[in-house]
Symmetry: C3
Subunit: 185 residues, 3 copies
Protein backbone atom coordinates (compact mmCIF):
# COMPACT_ATOMS: atom_id res chain seq x y z
CA UNK A 1 0.00 0.00 0.00
CA UNK A 2 2.74 2.44 1.06
CA UNK A 3 4.80 1.48 -1.96
CA UNK A 4 1.83 2.18 -4.24
CA UNK A 5 1.46 5.65 -2.70
CA UNK A 6 5.15 6.34 -3.07
CA UNK A 7 4.98 5.33 -6.71
CA UNK A 8 1.96 7.58 -7.20
CA UNK A 9 3.77 10.48 -5.50
CA UNK A 10 6.73 9.87 -7.77
CA UNK A 11 4.48 10.20 -10.83
CA UNK A 12 2.80 13.32 -9.42
CA UNK A 13 6.25 14.81 -8.85
CA UNK A 14 7.22 14.03 -12.43
CA UNK A 15 3.95 15.55 -13.65
CA UNK A 16 4.47 18.69 -11.55
CA UNK A 17 7.99 19.18 -12.91
CA UNK A 18 6.78 18.65 -16.49
CA UNK A 19 3.90 21.15 -16.34
CA UNK A 20 6.03 23.75 -14.52
CA UNK A 21 8.79 23.28 -17.10
CA UNK A 22 6.12 23.77 -19.78
CA UNK A 23 4.96 26.99 -18.08
CA UNK A 24 8.59 28.14 -18.14
CA UNK A 25 8.81 27.41 -21.85
CA UNK A 26 5.64 29.47 -22.40
CA UNK A 27 7.15 32.49 -20.64
CA UNK A 28 10.40 31.96 -22.59
CA UNK A 29 8.27 32.08 -25.71
CA UNK A 30 6.70 35.43 -24.63
CA UNK A 31 10.25 36.73 -24.19
CA UNK A 32 11.38 35.35 -27.59
CA UNK A 33 14.39 33.53 -26.12
CA UNK A 34 16.73 31.12 -27.92
CA UNK A 35 16.68 27.32 -27.29
CA UNK A 36 19.18 27.54 -24.43
CA UNK A 37 17.04 30.21 -22.80
CA UNK A 38 14.00 27.92 -23.09
CA UNK A 39 15.87 25.09 -21.37
CA UNK A 40 17.23 27.38 -18.63
CA UNK A 41 13.82 28.89 -17.81
CA UNK A 42 12.12 25.47 -18.01
CA UNK A 43 14.67 24.06 -15.54
CA UNK A 44 14.42 27.06 -13.17
CA UNK A 45 10.62 26.76 -13.14
CA UNK A 46 10.50 22.97 -12.93
CA UNK A 47 13.11 22.66 -10.17
CA UNK A 48 12.70 26.03 -8.41
CA UNK A 49 9.97 25.18 -5.92
CA UNK A 50 11.43 21.83 -4.90
CA UNK A 51 14.91 23.31 -4.62
CA UNK A 52 13.74 26.08 -2.26
CA UNK A 53 11.86 23.44 -0.21
CA UNK A 54 14.98 21.24 0.04
CA UNK A 55 17.20 24.19 1.00
CA UNK A 56 14.80 25.38 3.71
CA UNK A 57 14.64 21.86 5.17
CA UNK A 58 18.37 21.27 4.82
CA UNK A 59 17.86 18.30 2.46
CA UNK A 60 21.09 18.65 0.48
CA UNK A 61 22.44 17.88 -2.05
CA UNK A 62 19.10 18.96 -3.57
CA UNK A 63 16.92 16.34 -5.24
CA UNK A 64 17.74 16.96 -8.91
CA UNK A 65 21.48 16.45 -8.35
CA UNK A 66 20.62 12.75 -7.88
CA UNK A 67 18.03 12.55 -10.67
CA UNK A 68 19.47 12.82 -14.19
CA UNK A 69 16.12 11.69 -15.64
CA UNK A 70 14.44 14.82 -14.19
CA UNK A 71 17.12 17.06 -15.68
CA UNK A 72 16.55 15.35 -19.03
CA UNK A 73 12.79 15.82 -18.67
CA UNK A 74 13.16 19.57 -18.09
CA UNK A 75 15.54 19.92 -21.02
CA UNK A 76 13.21 17.94 -23.29
CA UNK A 77 10.15 19.98 -22.28
CA UNK A 78 12.10 23.21 -22.77
CA UNK A 79 13.24 22.18 -26.25
CA UNK A 80 9.78 20.93 -27.20
CA UNK A 81 8.44 24.30 -26.07
CA UNK A 82 10.90 26.07 -28.35
CA UNK A 83 9.57 24.23 -31.38
CA UNK A 84 5.88 24.08 -30.41
CA UNK A 85 5.01 27.08 -28.22
CA UNK A 86 4.24 29.38 -31.14
CA UNK A 87 1.64 26.86 -32.36
CA UNK A 88 -0.51 27.39 -29.25
CA UNK A 89 -3.32 29.81 -29.90
CA UNK A 90 -3.59 31.45 -26.47
CA UNK A 91 -0.26 31.11 -24.74
CA UNK A 92 -1.31 33.12 -21.67
CA UNK A 93 -4.31 30.86 -21.10
CA UNK A 94 -2.07 27.80 -21.51
CA UNK A 95 0.30 29.33 -18.98
CA UNK A 96 -2.52 29.78 -16.45
CA UNK A 97 -3.57 26.14 -16.89
CA UNK A 98 -0.01 24.81 -16.64
CA UNK A 99 0.57 26.90 -13.53
CA UNK A 100 -2.66 25.71 -11.90
CA UNK A 101 -1.92 22.05 -12.63
CA UNK A 102 1.62 22.40 -11.35
CA UNK A 103 0.45 24.11 -8.16
CA UNK A 104 -2.06 21.36 -7.37
CA UNK A 105 0.49 18.58 -7.92
CA UNK A 106 3.33 20.30 -6.10
CA UNK A 107 1.36 21.41 -3.05
CA UNK A 108 0.64 17.74 -2.26
CA UNK A 109 4.12 16.44 -3.12
CA UNK A 110 5.80 19.23 -1.15
CA UNK A 111 3.65 18.68 1.93
CA UNK A 112 4.32 14.92 1.83
CA UNK A 113 8.08 15.42 1.55
CA UNK A 114 8.04 17.92 4.41
CA UNK A 115 6.08 15.49 6.62
CA UNK A 116 8.51 12.70 5.73
CA UNK A 117 11.39 15.02 6.71
CA UNK A 118 9.82 15.41 10.15
CA UNK A 119 8.21 18.84 9.73
CA UNK A 120 5.24 19.81 11.91
CA UNK A 121 1.86 19.65 10.15
CA UNK A 122 1.47 23.45 9.86
CA UNK A 123 5.06 23.69 8.57
CA UNK A 124 4.28 20.96 6.03
CA UNK A 125 1.33 23.01 4.77
CA UNK A 126 3.60 26.03 4.48
CA UNK A 127 6.32 24.06 2.67
CA UNK A 128 3.75 22.55 0.32
CA UNK A 129 2.66 26.07 -0.55
CA UNK A 130 6.28 27.21 -0.97
CA UNK A 131 7.05 24.21 -3.21
CA UNK A 132 4.00 24.97 -5.31
CA UNK A 133 4.56 28.70 -5.70
CA UNK A 134 8.32 29.39 -5.84
CA UNK A 135 8.99 27.75 -9.20
CA UNK A 136 6.64 30.24 -10.82
CA UNK A 137 7.98 33.13 -8.73
CA UNK A 138 11.59 32.38 -9.79
CA UNK A 139 10.49 31.99 -13.42
CA UNK A 140 8.80 35.39 -13.42
CA UNK A 141 11.59 37.12 -11.50
CA UNK A 142 14.27 35.81 -13.89
CA UNK A 143 12.13 36.78 -16.89
CA UNK A 144 11.40 40.24 -15.45
CA UNK A 145 7.64 39.87 -15.04
CA UNK A 146 5.55 40.66 -11.96
CA UNK A 147 5.00 37.15 -10.51
CA UNK A 148 1.77 35.60 -11.75
CA UNK A 149 1.01 34.47 -8.19
CA UNK A 150 0.78 38.12 -7.10
CA UNK A 151 -1.64 38.91 -9.90
CA UNK A 152 -3.84 35.79 -9.60
CA UNK A 153 -3.98 35.19 -5.87
CA UNK A 154 -6.51 32.39 -6.16
CA UNK A 155 -3.59 30.12 -7.03
CA UNK A 156 -1.73 30.60 -3.74
CA UNK A 157 -4.99 30.07 -1.84
CA UNK A 158 -5.66 26.89 -3.79
CA UNK A 159 -2.13 25.60 -3.16
CA UNK A 160 -2.37 26.28 0.59
CA UNK A 161 -5.86 24.72 0.77
CA UNK A 162 -4.71 21.63 -1.15
CA UNK A 163 -1.65 21.18 1.06
CA UNK A 164 -3.73 21.71 4.23
CA UNK A 165 -6.38 19.23 3.13
CA UNK A 166 -3.76 16.63 2.30
CA UNK A 167 -1.93 17.07 5.61
CA UNK A 168 -5.18 17.00 7.60
CA UNK A 169 -6.34 13.76 6.00
CA UNK A 170 -2.87 12.23 6.16
CA UNK A 171 -2.50 12.88 9.90
CA UNK A 172 -5.99 13.32 11.29
CA UNK A 173 -7.47 10.09 10.00
CA UNK A 174 -4.82 7.49 10.78
CA UNK A 175 -7.40 4.72 10.52
CA UNK A 176 -7.82 5.43 6.83
CA UNK A 177 -5.37 3.80 4.48
CA UNK A 178 -2.81 6.35 3.24
CA UNK A 179 -4.14 5.99 -0.30
CA UNK A 180 -7.59 7.25 0.66
CA UNK A 181 -6.13 10.31 2.36
CA UNK A 182 -4.02 10.91 -0.69
CA UNK A 183 -6.88 10.64 -3.15
CA UNK A 184 -8.84 13.20 -1.15
CA UNK A 185 -5.91 15.61 -0.76
CA UNK B 1 21.99 38.63 32.64
CA UNK B 2 22.45 36.42 29.58
CA UNK B 3 18.82 35.36 29.76
CA UNK B 4 17.72 38.99 29.87
CA UNK B 5 19.77 39.74 26.75
CA UNK B 6 18.37 36.70 24.99
CA UNK B 7 14.85 37.83 25.83
CA UNK B 8 15.65 41.32 24.56
CA UNK B 9 17.10 39.85 21.35
CA UNK B 10 13.93 37.80 20.95
CA UNK B 11 11.84 40.97 21.14
CA UNK B 12 14.13 42.81 18.73
CA UNK B 13 13.79 39.90 16.32
CA UNK B 14 10.01 40.06 16.59
CA UNK B 15 10.13 43.81 16.07
CA UNK B 16 12.37 43.46 13.02
CA UNK B 17 10.07 40.88 11.44
CA UNK B 18 7.02 43.05 12.14
CA UNK B 19 8.44 46.25 10.60
CA UNK B 20 9.85 44.39 7.59
CA UNK B 21 6.49 42.67 7.08
CA UNK B 22 4.89 46.12 7.27
CA UNK B 23 7.31 47.42 4.64
CA UNK B 24 6.31 44.46 2.46
CA UNK B 25 2.64 45.35 2.88
CA UNK B 26 3.41 48.94 1.86
CA UNK B 27 5.03 47.78 -1.38
CA UNK B 28 2.12 45.36 -1.95
CA UNK B 29 -0.13 48.39 -1.60
CA UNK B 30 1.85 50.31 -4.25
CA UNK B 31 1.36 47.31 -6.53
CA UNK B 32 -2.40 47.10 -5.73
CA UNK B 33 -2.21 43.40 -4.81
CA UNK B 34 -4.99 41.27 -3.29
CA UNK B 35 -4.95 40.09 0.37
CA UNK B 36 -3.01 36.92 -0.45
CA UNK B 37 -0.43 39.00 -2.26
CA UNK B 38 -0.08 41.24 0.81
CA UNK B 39 0.55 38.21 3.04
CA UNK B 40 3.03 36.67 0.59
CA UNK B 41 5.08 39.84 0.20
CA UNK B 42 4.93 40.55 3.96
CA UNK B 43 6.23 37.03 4.67
CA UNK B 44 8.97 37.24 2.00
CA UNK B 45 10.15 40.58 3.42
CA UNK B 46 9.84 39.61 7.09
CA UNK B 47 11.56 36.24 6.74
CA UNK B 48 13.83 36.89 3.74
CA UNK B 49 16.90 38.28 5.47
CA UNK B 50 16.90 35.73 8.29
CA UNK B 51 16.29 32.89 5.84
CA UNK B 52 19.27 33.86 3.68
CA UNK B 53 21.41 34.16 6.86
CA UNK B 54 20.34 30.68 8.05
CA UNK B 55 20.98 29.14 4.62
CA UNK B 56 24.45 30.70 4.33
CA UNK B 57 25.35 29.41 7.81
CA UNK B 58 23.77 25.99 7.23
CA UNK B 59 21.28 26.48 10.11
CA UNK B 60 18.45 24.32 8.71
CA UNK B 61 15.55 23.79 8.93
CA UNK B 62 15.34 27.59 8.81
CA UNK B 63 14.07 29.44 11.87
CA UNK B 64 10.46 30.14 10.85
CA UNK B 65 9.73 26.42 10.25
CA UNK B 66 9.89 26.07 14.06
CA UNK B 67 8.07 29.29 14.89
CA UNK B 68 4.36 29.28 14.02
CA UNK B 69 3.88 32.50 16.02
CA UNK B 70 6.22 34.34 13.62
CA UNK B 71 4.31 33.02 10.60
CA UNK B 72 1.09 34.23 12.23
CA UNK B 73 2.68 37.62 12.92
CA UNK B 74 3.67 38.07 9.26
CA UNK B 75 0.22 37.02 8.07
CA UNK B 76 -1.48 39.38 10.54
CA UNK B 77 0.72 42.33 9.55
CA UNK B 78 0.14 41.59 5.87
CA UNK B 79 -3.64 41.49 6.34
CA UNK B 80 -3.64 44.61 8.52
CA UNK B 81 -1.66 46.31 5.77
CA UNK B 82 -4.31 45.34 3.22
CA UNK B 83 -7.02 47.10 5.22
CA UNK B 84 -4.97 50.04 6.50
CA UNK B 85 -2.19 50.86 4.03
CA UNK B 86 -4.35 53.16 1.91
CA UNK B 87 -5.06 55.27 5.02
CA UNK B 88 -1.38 56.27 5.30
CA UNK B 89 -0.75 59.67 3.80
CA UNK B 90 2.77 59.18 2.47
CA UNK B 91 3.33 55.50 1.91
CA UNK B 92 6.82 55.93 0.47
CA UNK B 93 7.96 57.85 3.54
CA UNK B 94 6.42 55.16 5.78
CA UNK B 95 8.28 52.55 3.73
CA UNK B 96 11.59 54.35 4.27
CA UNK B 97 10.99 54.48 8.03
CA UNK B 98 9.92 50.84 8.26
CA UNK B 99 12.96 49.81 6.25
CA UNK B 100 15.32 51.87 8.43
CA UNK B 101 13.86 50.47 11.66
CA UNK B 102 14.01 46.92 10.33
CA UNK B 103 17.62 47.36 9.21
CA UNK B 104 18.73 48.62 12.62
CA UNK B 105 17.01 45.76 14.48
CA UNK B 106 18.08 43.04 12.11
CA UNK B 107 21.73 44.08 11.77
CA UNK B 108 22.17 43.49 15.52
CA UNK B 109 20.07 40.31 15.69
CA UNK B 110 21.80 38.85 12.63
CA UNK B 111 25.28 39.59 13.95
CA UNK B 112 24.44 38.03 17.33
CA UNK B 113 23.07 34.86 15.72
CA UNK B 114 26.13 34.60 13.48
CA UNK B 115 28.46 34.95 16.50
CA UNK B 116 26.46 32.34 18.40
CA UNK B 117 26.81 30.01 15.39
CA UNK B 118 30.59 30.36 15.64
CA UNK B 119 31.22 32.86 12.83
CA UNK B 120 34.33 35.05 12.90
CA UNK B 121 33.71 38.67 13.96
CA UNK B 122 34.11 40.09 10.43
CA UNK B 123 31.81 37.36 9.06
CA UNK B 124 29.27 38.22 11.77
CA UNK B 125 29.31 41.85 10.64
CA UNK B 126 28.78 40.69 7.07
CA UNK B 127 25.94 38.35 8.05
CA UNK B 128 24.31 41.07 10.14
CA UNK B 129 24.37 43.27 7.06
CA UNK B 130 22.99 40.44 4.87
CA UNK B 131 20.22 39.72 7.39
CA UNK B 132 19.31 43.40 7.48
CA UNK B 133 19.32 44.01 3.74
CA UNK B 134 18.11 40.85 1.98
CA UNK B 135 14.50 40.95 3.15
CA UNK B 136 14.08 44.28 1.41
CA UNK B 137 16.05 43.13 -1.65
CA UNK B 138 13.82 40.04 -2.06
CA UNK B 139 10.69 42.17 -1.55
CA UNK B 140 11.72 44.59 -4.27
CA UNK B 141 12.91 41.87 -6.66
CA UNK B 142 9.64 39.92 -6.35
CA UNK B 143 7.64 43.14 -6.78
CA UNK B 144 9.72 44.20 -9.78
CA UNK B 145 11.23 47.36 -8.28
CA UNK B 146 14.89 48.40 -8.27
CA UNK B 147 15.91 47.48 -4.68
CA UNK B 148 15.53 50.42 -2.31
CA UNK B 149 18.93 49.58 -0.82
CA UNK B 150 20.57 50.38 -4.17
CA UNK B 151 18.80 53.74 -4.35
CA UNK B 152 19.34 54.78 -0.71
CA UNK B 153 22.78 53.49 0.07
CA UNK B 154 22.89 55.12 3.49
CA UNK B 155 20.84 52.16 4.74
CA UNK B 156 23.41 49.51 3.89
CA UNK B 157 26.13 51.64 5.45
CA UNK B 158 24.04 52.09 8.61
CA UNK B 159 23.35 48.36 8.82
CA UNK B 160 27.04 47.48 8.42
CA UNK B 161 28.07 50.14 10.95
CA UNK B 162 25.47 48.96 13.47
CA UNK B 163 26.51 45.33 13.11
CA UNK B 164 30.21 46.27 13.35
CA UNK B 165 29.65 48.38 16.47
CA UNK B 166 27.68 45.61 18.13
CA UNK B 167 30.28 42.94 17.33
CA UNK B 168 33.16 45.20 18.45
CA UNK B 169 31.55 45.90 21.81
CA UNK B 170 30.42 42.33 22.26
CA UNK B 171 33.92 40.91 21.71
CA UNK B 172 36.34 43.73 22.37
CA UNK B 173 35.14 44.64 25.82
CA UNK B 174 34.70 41.27 27.54
CA UNK B 175 34.80 42.97 30.94
CA UNK B 176 31.58 44.80 30.19
CA UNK B 177 28.33 42.99 30.88
CA UNK B 178 26.74 41.79 27.66
CA UNK B 179 23.81 44.12 28.18
CA UNK B 180 25.99 47.21 28.05
CA UNK B 181 27.56 46.11 24.81
CA UNK B 182 24.15 45.44 23.44
CA UNK B 183 22.72 48.80 24.44
CA UNK B 184 25.57 50.52 22.65
CA UNK B 185 25.33 48.35 19.50
CA UNK C 1 51.32 17.76 -8.92
CA UNK C 2 47.98 17.83 -7.11
CA UNK C 3 49.13 20.76 -5.04
CA UNK C 4 50.10 22.68 -8.17
CA UNK C 5 46.64 22.09 -9.63
CA UNK C 6 44.98 23.18 -6.40
CA UNK C 7 47.03 26.36 -6.43
CA UNK C 8 46.09 26.97 -10.05
CA UNK C 9 42.41 26.38 -9.24
CA UNK C 10 42.71 28.85 -6.36
CA UNK C 11 44.03 31.48 -8.76
CA UNK C 12 41.32 30.74 -11.32
CA UNK C 13 38.72 31.10 -8.57
CA UNK C 14 40.19 34.46 -7.57
CA UNK C 15 40.22 35.53 -11.22
CA UNK C 16 36.59 34.44 -11.70
CA UNK C 17 35.46 36.39 -8.64
CA UNK C 18 37.38 39.47 -9.77
CA UNK C 19 35.98 39.56 -13.31
CA UNK C 20 32.43 38.84 -12.13
CA UNK C 21 32.76 41.59 -9.50
CA UNK C 22 33.95 43.87 -12.31
CA UNK C 23 30.91 42.93 -14.41
CA UNK C 24 28.75 43.81 -11.40
CA UNK C 25 30.43 47.20 -11.13
CA UNK C 26 29.75 47.80 -14.83
CA UNK C 27 26.02 47.14 -14.37
CA UNK C 28 26.06 49.33 -11.24
CA UNK C 29 27.54 52.03 -13.43
CA UNK C 30 24.70 51.65 -15.98
CA UNK C 31 22.27 52.09 -13.09
CA UNK C 32 24.19 55.16 -11.72
CA UNK C 33 24.44 53.69 -8.22
CA UNK C 34 26.42 55.12 -5.28
CA UNK C 35 29.68 53.52 -3.98
CA UNK C 36 27.84 51.21 -1.58
CA UNK C 37 25.63 50.05 -4.43
CA UNK C 38 28.73 49.29 -6.51
CA UNK C 39 30.18 47.16 -3.69
CA UNK C 40 26.88 45.34 -3.08
CA UNK C 41 26.33 44.48 -6.74
CA UNK C 42 30.01 43.51 -7.18
CA UNK C 43 29.75 41.15 -4.18
CA UNK C 44 26.41 39.66 -5.32
CA UNK C 45 27.88 38.99 -8.79
CA UNK C 46 31.27 37.77 -7.59
CA UNK C 47 29.91 35.45 -4.90
CA UNK C 48 26.47 34.59 -6.35
CA UNK C 49 27.35 31.58 -8.50
CA UNK C 50 29.60 29.94 -5.94
CA UNK C 51 27.08 30.59 -3.16
CA UNK C 52 24.27 28.90 -5.08
CA UNK C 53 26.61 25.97 -5.84
CA UNK C 54 27.55 25.61 -2.16
CA UNK C 55 23.91 25.80 -1.04
CA UNK C 56 22.78 23.18 -3.57
CA UNK C 57 25.57 20.83 -2.43
CA UNK C 58 25.03 21.55 1.26
CA UNK C 59 28.59 22.95 1.69
CA UNK C 60 27.83 25.40 4.49
CA UNK C 61 28.87 27.82 5.89
CA UNK C 62 29.39 29.05 2.32
CA UNK C 63 32.93 29.63 1.09
CA UNK C 64 33.21 33.42 1.45
CA UNK C 65 32.34 33.31 5.17
CA UNK C 66 35.79 31.77 5.66
CA UNK C 67 37.62 33.97 3.16
CA UNK C 68 37.97 37.62 4.24
CA UNK C 69 40.47 38.20 1.42
CA UNK C 70 37.77 37.41 -1.16
CA UNK C 71 35.34 39.82 0.51
CA UNK C 72 38.05 42.46 0.40
CA UNK C 73 38.70 41.69 -3.27
CA UNK C 74 35.03 42.19 -4.19
CA UNK C 75 34.84 45.43 -2.21
CA UNK C 76 38.03 46.72 -3.83
CA UNK C 77 36.85 45.84 -7.35
CA UNK C 78 33.47 47.44 -6.65
CA UNK C 79 35.06 50.67 -5.40
CA UNK C 80 37.58 50.72 -8.27
CA UNK C 81 34.62 50.34 -10.61
CA UNK C 82 32.93 53.33 -9.03
CA UNK C 83 35.90 55.56 -9.79
CA UNK C 84 36.90 54.05 -13.14
CA UNK C 85 33.84 52.59 -14.89
CA UNK C 86 32.88 55.88 -16.55
CA UNK C 87 36.31 56.01 -18.18
CA UNK C 88 35.59 52.86 -20.23
CA UNK C 89 34.50 53.70 -23.73
CA UNK C 90 32.06 50.85 -24.38
CA UNK C 91 30.80 49.58 -21.04
CA UNK C 92 28.42 47.03 -22.57
CA UNK C 93 31.23 45.45 -24.59
CA UNK C 94 33.42 45.36 -21.46
CA UNK C 95 30.53 43.70 -19.63
CA UNK C 96 30.25 40.99 -22.29
CA UNK C 97 33.99 40.30 -22.04
CA UNK C 98 34.00 40.23 -18.24
CA UNK C 99 31.01 37.89 -18.27
CA UNK C 100 32.61 35.56 -20.83
CA UNK C 101 35.89 35.40 -18.89
CA UNK C 102 34.09 34.78 -15.62
CA UNK C 103 31.95 32.02 -17.16
CA UNK C 104 34.99 30.19 -18.53
CA UNK C 105 36.86 30.34 -15.21
CA UNK C 106 33.88 29.48 -13.04
CA UNK C 107 32.58 26.58 -15.13
CA UNK C 108 35.87 24.75 -14.51
CA UNK C 109 36.23 25.74 -10.85
CA UNK C 110 32.60 24.85 -10.12
CA UNK C 111 32.85 21.45 -11.81
CA UNK C 112 36.06 20.64 -9.90
CA UNK C 113 34.52 21.61 -6.54
CA UNK C 114 31.41 19.53 -7.31
CA UNK C 115 33.56 16.50 -8.20
CA UNK C 116 35.58 16.96 -5.01
CA UNK C 117 32.30 17.06 -3.05
CA UNK C 118 31.40 13.66 -4.50
CA UNK C 119 28.96 14.71 -7.21
CA UNK C 120 28.36 12.46 -10.21
CA UNK C 121 30.09 13.60 -13.42
CA UNK C 122 26.85 14.82 -15.09
CA UNK C 123 25.90 16.65 -11.87
CA UNK C 124 29.37 18.24 -11.79
CA UNK C 125 28.82 19.54 -15.33
CA UNK C 126 25.47 20.96 -14.24
CA UNK C 127 26.93 22.56 -11.12
CA UNK C 128 29.80 24.02 -13.12
CA UNK C 129 27.21 25.62 -15.39
CA UNK C 130 25.18 26.86 -12.40
CA UNK C 131 28.32 28.31 -10.76
CA UNK C 132 29.22 30.05 -13.98
CA UNK C 133 25.80 31.50 -14.75
CA UNK C 134 24.04 32.38 -11.48
CA UNK C 135 26.31 35.25 -10.44
CA UNK C 136 25.28 37.09 -13.58
CA UNK C 137 21.63 36.07 -13.20
CA UNK C 138 21.49 37.41 -9.63
CA UNK C 139 23.28 40.61 -10.70
CA UNK C 140 20.75 41.25 -13.46
CA UNK C 141 17.73 40.29 -11.34
CA UNK C 142 18.77 42.61 -8.49
CA UNK C 143 19.46 45.41 -10.99
CA UNK C 144 16.15 44.84 -12.78
CA UNK C 145 17.54 43.79 -16.16
CA UNK C 146 16.56 40.77 -18.24
CA UNK C 147 19.46 38.37 -17.48
CA UNK C 148 22.26 38.67 -20.04
CA UNK C 149 22.45 34.88 -20.18
CA UNK C 150 18.91 34.76 -21.60
CA UNK C 151 19.80 37.28 -24.29
CA UNK C 152 23.22 35.83 -25.26
CA UNK C 153 22.68 32.11 -25.00
CA UNK C 154 26.08 31.27 -26.42
CA UNK C 155 27.47 31.93 -22.94
CA UNK C 156 25.48 29.20 -21.21
CA UNK C 157 26.40 26.77 -23.97
CA UNK C 158 30.07 27.69 -23.63
CA UNK C 159 29.95 27.25 -19.85
CA UNK C 160 28.29 23.84 -20.12
CA UNK C 161 30.71 22.74 -22.84
CA UNK C 162 33.71 23.91 -20.82
CA UNK C 163 32.52 22.15 -17.68
CA UNK C 164 31.73 18.97 -19.66
CA UNK C 165 35.13 18.97 -21.35
CA UNK C 166 36.91 19.46 -18.05
CA UNK C 167 34.94 16.68 -16.31
CA UNK C 168 35.42 14.29 -19.26
CA UNK C 169 39.18 14.78 -19.30
CA UNK C 170 39.47 14.72 -15.53
CA UNK C 171 37.64 11.38 -15.23
CA UNK C 172 37.95 9.70 -18.59
CA UNK C 173 41.68 9.83 -18.90
CA UNK C 174 42.95 8.75 -15.50
CA UNK C 175 46.36 7.92 -16.96
CA UNK C 176 46.96 11.57 -17.75
CA UNK C 177 48.30 13.74 -14.96
CA UNK C 178 45.57 15.96 -13.52
CA UNK C 179 47.35 19.04 -14.82
CA UNK C 180 47.00 17.94 -18.43
CA UNK C 181 43.30 17.35 -18.06
CA UNK C 182 43.02 20.70 -16.43
CA UNK C 183 44.89 22.55 -19.13
CA UNK C 184 42.61 21.04 -21.75
CA UNK C 185 39.41 21.75 -19.80
Amino acid sequence: MGAALDRLLGWLDLGGIAVFAASGALVASRKRLDPVGFVLVAAITGFGGGTVRDLLLGRTPVFWLAAPELVGLCAAVGLAGYFAAHLIESRFRALLWADAAGLALYAVVGAEIALAAGADPWAAVLLGTVTATFGGILRDVVCQELPLILRREIYATAAAAGAAGFVALRLGLPALPREAAFAAG
